[in-house]
């Protein structure tokens, strides 16, 4: 089943795009040759460690740093009072009525989550810095904490930010009396869709179903913890920062504001980055603190997070508490959907946090279905936990979990087969572009073939028969569907601006053909495991007709790349790939004019194929693109109005999102006695548009499903009532291991995006978005004989056992 890779030399240039070329980045990564941030050494380098609150909520009455300062090898101990910086940790996405509390780099008089930074130590050695943390005495006055987003917005909940407690938000939401919450911990109260039309749909519905569900808080667990190496050059006032970043240009822009370093003096480089899953998009205090310390001490400073710090401080994901309802007519056609969600924001607003449970969530609630009326209200709540922000999928897994749980319950209510119910309610293939009632327009889609293929792969009818037979034997097989949609490559910038983004969402790509005919291409995305060096080279090779081996890809360096928005949200292929494709096609157009000039023909008469320019009808009059490159730099004989050289830059701003989709089917057997869940099959049919490299697509689907299965069955951050993280290490937080992941059977359909030059859609988050509800639907399907309709994730053995017992027993 698995796709065989090929070496690039085995592939004709015409076939390079779409081939399973071996990932070129892997030899360096797997042999240890690659440099990660912690591999970087500098002469005279000092080390920073951060003292973090052990309490979830406390007033800081005083800090005594004298003991630490007196230690040998300690260069400095700094608290909030010592930081003379102009900025605070910024919020990059604003909503109407959003409350943005202060978020200083170090806590001033209050710590609001376990892990909140209180002081930093810079020392000659890493271990000295860590030891010195123990010598700092902080006088804490413990405060009551609140960790549940629904409880946090009640009027009697402990207030996190006193500055927000006075009076209502300046710009109250338009919903009249929609929310009863009035607590000072309400970060925002947001809605989308038509409330009246939705209420009407429910009033007239023949059938309705509802469910209370939680989408639990998750901890990202990138393989490489966050790290920074910062250097300051007093002579030139330049600041060089190497850091674990998914978007160096954005970090440069934000850190420039926080530290007051002009953007042109701040250089940010993301060396090899060991995964992110969103956690390395955001601007945290720590990277800025290390940079500040390097400037303050005029010495290179390294900060390397421990795994414990990763658990405590990397922005967590999800944390939704939701009530959702679905309305149907008597024939089982969906007429409306109503969703109310409390979204935990954690103690402060992380960089893109406000967008995740709102525009990346509410806009996806139509799923693959033609839903006439939807209304969604989301209340964001400050809680005494780590800030919550984008984590693989970011809002979309939460949305599709709601949709696909409702659809499954709806089918059950109507008494229809869940596959047939989905089919009946799909957006028909002739209705694209499709405008949903939640503000987005699906670019293209054809949902039935993916469902059909998945049904065929699991041999659905026979499977249902076997399910019946096994039930007779007291065995419980379950079949779960997830017909999901994803929105990637958030765009265009104008729309993003209207929605509150404090950034554009274009991407830049620079394609430089060197005089010898080899190529370096630069892209503003910033890969950290995705395989861009391979896939981007395939795109550029295909466009230019220059061999794949002659193309080098550069990402992640603000000094080399024109500008960039980074890698997240499954955007790199659709937006970054399109930017490179556009630049490469501009290169071809310039080269065509040079070739026409040298071949003494009109540009319109020059044909271009597989790297060769030739005169139409006279194929012997031709020039290779490499020869054109040489001519362009010699500039001895190029068109009069033309500048020498052969390189082009594009800022590609997509006209819309892209909307990948697919159907996943999980088949599980559940043992009611032990609560254990065994996978029998996991079938995934994904449509991610055109595929640049099917092997990389397959790898992304595999990894995504693994993470989605992790959420469904294993992972979940737990805080106690004091805001102490109970799942603070891999000992207690179950990151799934290979033995926990089902064997995946993967296939695809191809429905190209109509609006980008590659017809690609995006695949990085597909599996993560699809898998949780496939598994949950399978488990609850298995437990139908017990009348169990819902179990919250992670579905541990104990939850299964309790659900069966509560329902009347095994």
């Amino acid at each position: 089943m698995s796709i065989e890779t090929k070496e690039s030399e085995e592939i004709d240039i015409e076939g390079i795009l779409g081939s399973a070329v071996e990932r070129r980045e892997d030899p360096a990564l797997i042999t240890g040759e690659a440099d990660y941030t912690d591999d970087i050494q500098r002469p005279n380098m000092a080390h920073m460690a951060v003292l973090r609150s052990q309490y979830g909520h406390a007033a800081v009455e005083g800090i005594d740093t004298s003991g630490a300062e007196a230690m040998d090898g300690v260069l400095g101990v700094f608290t909030a009072a010592d930081l003379d910086v102009p900025g605070e940790v910024p919020v990059g996405w604003l909503l109407p009525s959003l409350k943005t509390p202060p978020h200083p780099l170090l806590a001033e008089d209050r710590v609001r989550y376990q892990g909140d930074g209180v002081a930093i130590v810079v020392a000659e050695e890493r271990y000295i810095a860590r030891d010195a943390l123990d010598a700092i005495e902080v006088d804490y006055e413990r405060l009551d904490a609140v960790v549940d987003p629904r409880e946090a917005v009640q009027a009697d909940a402990p207030t996190l930010h006193d500055s927000l407690a006075e009076g209502p938000a300046e710009d109250p939401p338009e919903a009249e009396g929609e929310s009863e919450e009035s607590g000072a911990n309400v970060a925002f109260d947001w809605e989308i869709g038509d409330g009246d039309a939705t209420d009407e749909a429910f009033a007239e519905a023949a059938h309705t179903v509802e469910v209370d569900l939680e989408n639990q808080r998750l901890i990202p667990n990138a393989m490489e913890p966050r790290a920074t190496v910062a250097e300051y050059k007093p002579g030139t006032e330049e600041v060089d920062v190497h850091m674990t970043s998914q978007n160096p240009h954005l970090h440069r822009l934000l850190m420039s504001g926080v530290l007051g370093v002009p953007e042109h003096k701040l250089h940010i480089n993301a060396p090899e980055v060991g995964g992110g899953f969103g956690s390395k998009i955001h601007h945290y205090p720590d990277e800025a603190l290390a940079t500040w310390a390097a400037m303050e001490l005029e010495r290179p400073v390294k900060w390397q997070a421990t795994r414990t710090e990763t658990y405590l401080t990397d922005a967590h994901g999800r944390d939704h508490v939701t009530h959702a309802e679905l309305a149907m007519d008597s024939a089982g056609t969906i007429t409306g959907m109503r969703v109310k969600t409390y979204a935990g924001m954690g103690a402060y607003l992380s960089t893109f946090a406000p967008s995740v449970p709102t525009y990346l969530y509410g806009t996806l609630l139509s799923g693959q279905y033609d839903v006439p009326a939807i209304h969604c209200n989301v209340v964001g709540a400050f809680t005494n936990g780590a800030p919550v922000d984008a984590y693989r999928g970011a809002g979309r897994p939460e949305a599709l979990y709601v949709v696909e749980r409702l659809i499954t319950l709806g089918a059950r209510e109507i008494g229809m087969d869940p596959a047939a119910f989905r089919r009946q309610n799909f957006v028909p293939s002739d209705d694209f572009p499709h405008e949903t009632p939640v503000a987005v327009v699906y670019d293209s889609g054809d949902y039935e073939p993916a469902l059909d293929k998945a049904l065929e792969m699991v041999d659905y009818d026979a499977l249902r028969e076997r399910q019946e037979e096994l039930r007779e034997e007291g065995r419980y097989l379950g079949i779960g569907f997830s017909s999901y949609i994803e929105a990637c490559g958030l765009a265009p910038s104008e729309l993003a601006g209207q929605l509150g983004a404090q950034a554009g969402l274009w991407e830049s790509g620079l394609v430089r053909v060197h005089p010898s005919g080899s190529v370096t291409a630069f892209c503003g995305t910033s890969g950290h495991g995705q395989g861009h060096e391979t896939t981007y080279a395939q795109i550029v090779s295909d466009e230019l007709g220059i061999p794949y081996e002659d193309i080098e890809i550069v990402e992640g360096d603000t000094d080399e790349i024109p500008q960039g928005m980074g890698t997240y949200g499954s955007r790199s292929a659709a937006v970054g790939g399109s930017a490179l494709s556009t630049s490469a096609s501009k290169v071809v157009e310039k080269a065509r004019r040079i070739a026409a000039h040298q071949l003494e023909a009109a540009p319109a008469d020059i044909e271009f194929e597989a790297g060769e320019f030739s005169v139409a009808g006279a194929p012997e009059r031709s020039m290779a693109i490499q020869e054109v490159a040489q001519a362009s730099y010699l500039a001895h004989d190029i068109p009069e109005d033309m500048e020498p050289g052969l390189e082009e830059t594009s800022f590609y701003d997509p006209e819309n999102f892209v909307f990948p989709f697919g159907t996943h089917v999980a088949v599980v057997e559940v043992d009611p006695e032990s609560g254990e869940i065994d996978f029998e099959r996991y079938v995934a049919v994904d449509d991610v548009g055109n595929q640049i490299n099917p092997k990389i697509v397959e790898g992304q689907i595999h990894g995504g499903i693994a993470q989605g299965v992790g959420q469904a069955l294993y992972e979940g951050a737990e805080y106690d009532d004091n805001g102490t993280l109970l799942t603070g290490s891999m000992q207690d937080y179950a990151v799934p291991k290979a033995e926990h992941i089902p064997e995946m059977e993967i296939d695809n359909t191809v429905t190209p995006s109509p609006h980008n030059p590659l017809g690609v859609k995006g695949v990085g988050e597909a599996g993560t978005i699809a898998a949780p509800q496939a598994v949950v639907n399978a488990v609850t399907d298995a437990l139908q004989p017990f009348g169990v309709d819902h179990i919250d994730m992670p579905i541990t053995e104990e939850k299964v056992w309790r659900a069966v017992n509560d329902a009347g027993g095994s």
Binding site: R126, Y127, R130, S674, Y714, M730, D732, A734
Partner: protein, 299 residues
């Protein structure tokens, strides 16, 4: 430092180790064998001993030897060596199978049998296996050697009958008869891999009937415990599925639910359920080795 600083001593013989224990009496001393429980707690700051005595070079505590009436496992025998030992699989199947389920390959290549037993981690795999196999712990102290039956060895969470001036030198597993079969069934925590519940079962049979049974569980109480109601329900009964199911259903009968382990991954109530399920699986596994009818597919 990370971990806190400590003095390092290396003992080349049991006598030298005992002398070092005596020399550092009063200080916080830890013996370093495989280090797989100790070093993580030191790195995370949960333990900061003043002195580490490395006992890995003591030849007398290595390896598996056949003593005629049983097997002797040197305390420093690595899990992997137990798992590879045909003799242990033959004579103490439940012990071998429990060892097979510890950690992963790297852990099994380094971790030691003696270190495991001496640590008495409630979620470890070997205590129940040692109890079910009727094993004995041999300790050497200033006054010489003493034998401690497994029954008397485990006293609580990380607490054993071992004195501070004693060294656990070897484990003895008695030779079993032809009709003796054993098995270990484990529910690992998905995060740590330690036993949420693990049950070791040893049945002495004459082929058709169970003469006697020794069943013990890890992960349920603060240390490995015998499940006597199960044993009693099996003794003298026919070796069949009905007997096993009925007996396994009594696995939690004598366990004090107030003292039962309870954590994020499984409450005490659910552990009481799991210990019954896993007692059944261990017994069915043992029965299968006795040539009893194969258990149904769902088990």
């Amino acid at each position: 430092m990370y971990p806190d600083s400590f003095a390092y001593e290396r003992a080349e013989s049991v006598e030298e180790a005992l002398a070092l224990l005596d020399e550092h009496a009063g200080a916080e001393v830890e013996l370093l064998a495989g280090g797989h429980s100790l070093l993580p707690t030191m790195k995370s700051g949960l333990a900061s001993p003043d002195v580490l005595i490395d006992i890995n070079s003591i030849d007398a505590m290595q390896g598996i030897t056949d003593e005629g009436d049983g097997l002797s496992l040197g305390a420093l025998t690595r899990y992997a060596d137990v798992d590879r030992s045909a003799a242990v699989w033959e004579d103490a199947t439940a012990f071998a199978e429990a060892t097979h389920h510890i950690g992963d390959v790297q852990v099994r290549n380094r971790g030691t049998v003696g270190g495991n037993i001496a640590h008495s981690d409630p979620a470890s795999d070997l205590p129940a296996a040692l109890l079910a196999c009727g094993g004995t712990v041999v300790a050497q102290g200033p006054d010489g050697e003493r034998e401690i039956p497994a029954e008397d060895f485990f006293e609580g969470m990380y607490a054993t009958a071992l004195d501070e001036d004693e060294l656990l030198t070897r484990i003895e597993l008695p030779r079993t008869g032809d009709g003796s079969v054993g098995a270990y069934a484990k529910k690992p925590s998905p995060s740590s891999g330690y036993a949420m519940v693990g049950v070791a079962a040893v049945l002495d049979t004459d082929g058709d009937a169970i003469e006697s049974a020794r069943i013990a569980a890890n992960g349920v109480m603060d240390h490995g415990v015998r499940l006597r109601p199960v044993e009693d329900a099996l003794a003298g009964e026919p070796l069949d599925r009905d007997t096993i199911e009925a007996a396994a259903g009594r696995a939690a009968d004598d366990l004090d639910d107030v003292m039962m382990m309870s954590d994020l991954q499984a409450s005490s109530e659910f552990r009481a359920q799991l210990v019954q399920v896993y007692a059944k699986r261990a017994l069915l596994g043992a029965a299968e080795r006795a040539g009893a009818p194969a258990p149904a597919a769902s088990d």
